[in-house]
Symmetry: C2
Subunit: 260 residues, 2 copies
């Protein structure tokens, strides 16, 4: 899975905020001289799509002339669809690396599960493509990506220069802080945190009720080895992620306690 | 999280094939005398939605008079939305158990990641509700659920009668086989398997290309402790699942090798 010495690495770039979001153009800008960049990204925002794939509808894929000198495609599907289409229909060989983001807003702790950004990265790793999702803790479309770009570049250089596990997935979150306050990168585990739902009820003009999903983020995890702790302390958090969801501890317990 | 001796357990039931699919009525049938059943399920098929949540659109929730004597609601959102709405708006207290399914088609190995059925179960466990997803290895709407019902009931009885981890998630798959050929339940790990994409290209009446997602399932895992092996050998596979996606092995490696 390593780049050969003869050929420049191919880097697939996608996101979940859509191909016109500032985050993806900043990511391209940050790494475009490190390899041949190919972009396949959603044609519209796909936040919160998790690992959704498009089964019941066909997909469209159109060239996007958005980034000078960069091959780019916009896809009507989810972030995971983008990775699948890129591998099967766009790229002539498996890329050396897949980058997803830079997401507008955090994907730390439990957000990894809801995030289209991270699900694209997970999908790439299932396809044996090492991958990284980048997220900046700033939802604004006017966010300042300078710090995020700097650390995205450091992480990508690190990965290109060192042997990679082909199933490697990194979830990288960048605090919203000026560069001089950032303390560097920190390897972390996913904090145990969740959203406490609080749906807003409204009524349509026909007096029928509808609901908007909202929720309060609650961190139950007091560990200092978590991504939430790192970000609160101005570190760039790096959580290695896996797609084997087996709970091995519970597996051992059940094997002992269940009478089968 | 255990039912009190005074009160019957509340069991939340959802699925991803939609509230009118035979799988969910079979699941209700199998367990309805084991507690108070409340159904909140999608109003249309939501297969392959993974852990998607509905952010950009409001949600609808209507009573569904489908199952005699059972409180049931149909929701316009994803399976994960159903669980969130059930907890926040439908149930007067946290349920003792969440069941998802019975899915029409397998959710073994990597399918756990794409599956709306399993994502609903995962969401429940994030909410501290022990949960089980059930899937029958038969895509047909005319599938015979007799064996699946029998084992769903055994699993639910087992969970109600024994102390539960509030974050417990089980991924239960039932082979397509006659009852006399089933060898029983088997605790397994998730097999390493994936889909090799093979998008079908077609052209619309305006000569514009579109794609249908198809793929060939490939199992790379030769272990005899996997769900794929168990199912091929006529066991009902039970994989304990977790929502902490941290790859701890890779975390240790990176802490040693990365110069931060």
């Amino acid at each position: 899975m390593r780049k050969s010495d003869m050929e420049e690495p191919i880097i697939l770039i996608t996101n979940d905020d859509g191909i016109t979001a500032p985050g993806i153009s900043n990511l391209i800008e940050a790494v475009k001289d490190l390899g041949k960049i190919v972009v396949v990204a959603p044609d519209k925002p796909q936040s919160g799509m998790g690992h959704a794939i498009t089964i019941g509808n066909p997909l469209r894929l159109y060239p996007a002339h958005l980034f000078e000198g960069i091959e780019a495609w916009q896809c009507s599907g989810t972030p995971v669809d983008c990775v699948k289409l890129a591998v099967d229909k766009v790229l002539h060989r498996k890329p050396d690396l897949c980058l997803s983001g830079i997401n507008h807003g955090s994907n730390h702790s439990i957000n990894v599960i809801y995030s289209g950004t991270m699900s694209a990265a997970v999908e790439a790793a299932i396809e044996s493509i090492p991958s990284v999702g980048f997220s900046l803790l700033d939802y604004s479309m006017e966010a300042d990506f300078a710090v995020a770009k700097k650390y995205a570049r450091i992480v990508v250089q690190n990965l290109l220069n060192n042997p990679l596990d082909k199933h490697l997935i990194l979830n990288v979150n960048i605090p919203r802080a000026d560069e001089e306050h950032i303390k560097g990168l920190r390897i972390c585990r996913q904090a145990y945190a969740k959203y406490e739902e609080d749906f807003i009820e409204r009524f349509d003009p026909n007096a029928r009720k509808y609901y908007w999903l909202t929720g309060k983020f609650v961190n139950f995890d007091e560990g200092t080895d978590t991504d939430v702790w790192a970000l609160e302390n101005n570190y760039v958090s790096v959580v290695p992620v896996q797609f084997d969801l087996t709970n091995y501890k519970l597996k051992d317990e059940l094997e002992k306690t269940w009478k089968l």
